[in-house]
Symmetry: C2
Subunit: 125 residues, 2 copies
DNA sequence: TCATCATTTCAATAATCGTTGAACCAATGA
DNA sequence: TCATTGGTTCAACGATTATTGAAATGATGA
């Protein structure tokens, strides 16, 4: 569509206001932002990358990350409230896993993109 | 692949450590997190949604958002350092635009996903 | 039931982040 | 050159967020 159209500074403001009607759905925007915010912290993203290799319980994750279980549990809580991970109980353990394939893709894409972007920068162009 | 394999709690730790070799690239992870973090704030995400309709200068964005230019400029700075937007000068104006199609897709996908997710929750399942 | 292990919650602290207005810089036109 | 308009930077403040250890909860097996 017109996503790379002319800038608007030169038009009259009444024209602009007419064309810019489709205000974003604030609720959707808030949920999207919450999801991104949960992803936007290296320790939490690392946790997701770990879970991308398969489900794991809190104590295993804690050992992998060399952190206390409390810390890991708190991070998982944030990821869970953003619906990025699911959990189920298995005996004494609580097993966490990525919520669905969509999340798997998101994590892999982000890491792949960030890996290439460093050199020439797909984004910088 | 094995992304939904069995949890690891029951295996021996030496086994686990062997299989879990592919540690994530910390640098890439940091950049990915920075990108997500920039997206993870409703006002900034709204700004990107606005820019998805086409390039615009700071004063126009400020008017659309009913905010001071300083505030908008600060938000744009964060988006720019995450390589999400580009800018160019045009006379007195500075025109901002989404960095590339990848970003356009990301914003639209996130909003689309967040719009549907509210009811039954693709992520919750 | 008691003891133990795995996990979560709580509360306090430290660290980070967003906003604001004022000062500053850049481009233009008189 | 000066005044004006558009944009950025700076510094301070308030608000949010992450981390930590201690206390609480849940599940298990003796």
């Amino acid at each position: 569509m017109n996503s790379q159209a002319e800038p608007l500074c030169e038009e009259s403001h009444s024209d602009r206001r007419d064309r810019r009607k489709p205000r974003v759905d604030e609720a959707a925007l808030g949920r999207a932002a919450e999801l991104f915010a949960a992803l936007g912290d290296p320790p939490r993203l690392r946790l997701l990358a770990l879970l991308a290799q398969g489900p794991a319980c809190v104590s295993d994750l804690a050992e992998d990350e060399q952190e206390g279980m409390s810390t890991i549990s708190q991070r998982l809580k944030v990821l869970r409230s953003a619906s990025l991970v699911r959990r189920r109980r298995q005996g004494k353990h609580v097993i966490y896993a990525l919520a669905d394939q969509h999340v798997v893709d998101l994590v892999f894409n982000a890491l792949a993109h960030a890996s290439e972007a460093q050199v020439v920068g797909k984004y910088k162009e």
